[in-house]
């Protein structure tokens, strides 16, 4: 029998209050499998502020510090430094959604990265403000319907591409940043374990599909997540001290249309809109390949 590379220990108990098929729930479960029990997590306003359960119940086997929406970076700065004062070696983790990271929490995140606190910032990205009911965020992709980019006679779906938070983070020259996808748990756990061993600020960008907000059946979460990487909508890579490595090489990428057609939020798109997205994906993939190619030269330093 082949042994699984996924740790069997569970630090997320049954009985959470996430929606059926929640990608964010899997993100937390795999994250904790990779980190283990010696972990403190800070969670701002986001779906995960509700998922652990109503007081006094909780579904996690690690301590949680709930914080305000925009302060995850500052909160883990405080915990990390307090742990140093106390002489405790603990995984200090911020676990925030896309709105809390790329929009309202960007300043605190930037401060935490620049000051180089010893903590892991995790972004679980479901590409909109899902806890408040599917409003567009800076991480919502072009073409997506949300409740604040509704589709009526004037087809108001989101007209701007997704904010590239990875590049913003990498620009802080931190030791480790990576993209993770719940559909690739081995790659996921490997990156979490790597981040855990590195001192200084780390950033993990987890792709976490949301059946409720993306309008697809809950049993399709893994399929949708896998397609995101197979179509290069969400490539898997890591950046170590500025050196890019693509961890999931996709030899023959599928057309983005295959990904887009799985979700109701994209149902209004014309062929022309699909082409705009395909062009954006192609361009970004090309850039990523170049970054990988040229950043390798840094290894010769």
């Amino acid at each position: 029998m082949r042994r699984t590379t996924i740790p069997e220990e569970e630090y997320m108990l049954p009985g959470h209050s996430a929606c059926l098929g929640c990608g964010g729930a899997l993100a937390m479960r795999y994250l904790l499998k990779g980190l283990g029990k010696n972990t403190i997590i800070s969670i701002p306003a986001c779906c995960w502020a509700v998922i652990p359960g109503v007081y006094p119940s909780r579904c996690l086997e690690v301590p949680l510090l709930y914080t305000a929406f925009e302060v995850t970076g500052a909160a883990i700065s405080g915990i990390a430094d307090a742990m140093e004062v106390l002489g405790k070696d603990v995984n200090v983790v911020g676990f925030a959604g896309d709105g809390g990271t790329v929009d309202i929490g960007l300043q605190a995140l930037s401060g935490m990265l620049e000051r180089r606190h010893n903590a892991i910032y995790v972004l679980y990205d479901n590409e909109a403000y899902m806890n408040t009911g599917i409003q567009r965020s800076g991480a919502t992709p072009y073409g997506a319907w949300t409740t604040t980019t509704p589709v009526g006679k004037r087809r108001m779906f989101k007209r701007e591409h997704k904010k590239d938070i990875m590049e913003i983070v990498v620009a802080h020259e931190i030791p480790y940043a990576a993209t993770l996808n719940i559909a690739y748990p081995e790659d996921f756990i490997k990156k979490v374990k790597k981040a855990k061993e590195i001192k200084g600020p780390k950033f993990l960008h987890i792709y976490a599909p949301c059946p409720t907000g993306w309008r697809y059946p809950p049993n399709k979460t893994i399929e949708v997540a896998r397609l995101a990487t197979e179509t290069l909508m969400f490539p898997l890579y890591e950046v170590e001290e500025g050196v890019y490595t693509i961890t999931k090489k996709i030899k023959e990428p599928k057309p983005v249309k295959e990904y887009l057609k799985t979700q109701g939020r994209f149902r209004y798109l014309s062929d022309e809109d699909v082409q705009i997205i395909q062009k954006w994906v192609n361009h970004r993939w090309k850039k990523l390949l170049l970054k990988e190619k040229y950043s390798r030269e840094l290894l010769e330093e």
């Binding site: 949680l64 500052a74 700065s77 430094d81 307090a82 004062v85 300043q107």
Partner: protein, 389 residues
């Protein structure tokens, strides 16, 4: 004894109280607090982690997280920095974290003004923080030490902000008795929170609560602790005097109030000037007194009621204003004074750092001595008003 500005005093207070995490962001006129702390750490005189955050909002967030980890924290701010923190001030008291913060009272823009005014901290009245207003640099030192002592008690667990008037205290040197860390340690033991972030204690701090409860019960517990703090502060003033030899009346300071017909009520540094005026008027045979509020939260309603019961007329000087109806101290004093049948007049004075001179305060006392009851709220010294010149 050291010659220190109010801001240097606050920095030394953080040091002798053994704050272990300081998270702060510079703002005029608070800057010399964070500069002094940086210097003390750089010189190896203070042993603390210093998080040079990217905003005051993050300063309070980092203090909350560090304090929740079981480490004593300190921060300092002013005006816009304090109001930017507002969301997290409520968070700190809701999470029952005895953080101590030095606040340098400064006017809010627009128009820009860096001078003293108390709108910034008065606007934080409802955040669940204890508020103490200092009259001298020594009181800044002593209030910070006592703030940790009172706030960290298991039956209190509330944060405290200690106010100084901008420039009048923050940048003015006075002789200050700075106790040693050892002396303070024998009065203020290490922080021991009953619950803190610890992988061996996997609790959720601040999780969702439905309307059925116990959200309301948690809020009641804060109210109960704040009410209890009144008694604790009075007792702690006695303990403090035994240890350090300096006397504080408690939540307020009574200055010749006993047999006074007219008492003024105020807080902060204007009280120093007012005391001179009281002495002057007393020497002229006028029965006037002064009640200086030290703690605005918890509010000393008993002391105020007692003075109100024994006064013929009360004037309240506010260095801020609640647009719509009167100064904040005035409305609270009136409410506390009830059922005393005494007229309580509001004098709005010194906004944006306008100097409150002995002459101005004398005019206020003289106005109060007429005991007229025709006008509730008086703005003192407006440029076009000849009466106060």
């Amino acid at each position: 004894m050291m010659l220190l500005t109010g801001n240097e005093t606050a920095a030394y207070a953080a040091k002798v109280c053994r704050a272990k995490v300081v998270a702060a962001y510079p703002i005029t006129p608070q800057t010399t607090v964070v500069e002094k702390i940086a210097e003390l750490i750089a010189n190896g005189e203070m042993d603390a982690k210093y998080i040079r955050v990217e905003s005051e909002h993050s300063a309070m967030a980092a203090c909350i997280a560090a304090e929740n980890s079981g480490v004593r924290t300190f921060t300092a701010t002013s005006a816009h920095g304090l109001t930017l923190m507002h969301e997290l001030l409520i968070w700190a008291s809701g999470a029952r974290l005895p953080i101590v913060m030095s606040v340098i009272n400064r006017a809010m823009a627009p128009p820009w003004s860096v001078w003293t005014d108390q709108q910034d901290s008065m606007a934080q009245r409802d955040t669940g923080w204890m508020q103490v207003y200092a009259e001298s640099n020594q009181e800044v030192m002593d209030s910070i030490i006592m703030a940790y002592k009172v706030g960290e008690r298991e039956d209190i667990l509330l944060p405290t902000m200690v106010m100084e008037d901008a420039f009048i205290l923050s940048h003015t040197s006075e002789p200050v008795d700075v106790p040693t860390e050892e002396e303070v340690a024998s009065y203020l033991p290490d922080l021991k929170l009953p619950y803190k972030l610890d992988p061996d204690f996997p609790a959720g701090f601040g999780s969702l609560i439905m309307p059925e409860g116990p959200y309301m019960e948690f809020r009641y517990k804060i109210a109960e602790a704040m009410d209890k703090a009144r008694k604790v502060i009075r007792e702690e003033c006695e303990e403090f005097e035994k240890k350090f030899g300096r006397h504080y009346d408690g939540l307020v300071e009574f200055y010749r109030t006993d047999d006074a017909d007219v008492n003024l009520i105020m807080l902060g540094t204007m009280a120093s000037t007012a005391k001179e005026v009281v002495d002057e008027l007393r020497s002229e045979g006028k029965k006037v007194g002064l009640l200086r509020i030290r703690y605005f939260r918890p509010f000393p309603y008993e002391e105020i009621r007692e003075v109100a019961m024994n006064s013929s007329y009360i004037g309240v000087c506010d260095r801020s204003y609640t647009f719509g109806y009167g100064g904040p101290i005035w409305s609270e004093v009136r409410s506390a004074a009830y059922p005393a049948k005494v007229f309580v007049k509001n004098y709005v004075v010194g906004l944006g750092g306008r100097d409150i001179t002995p002459k101005v305060l004398r005019k206020i006392y003289e106005d109060a001595l007429t005991m007229k009851e025709d006008k509730e709220i008086e703005w003192v010294g407006l440029l076009w008003d000849e009466r106060w010149r």
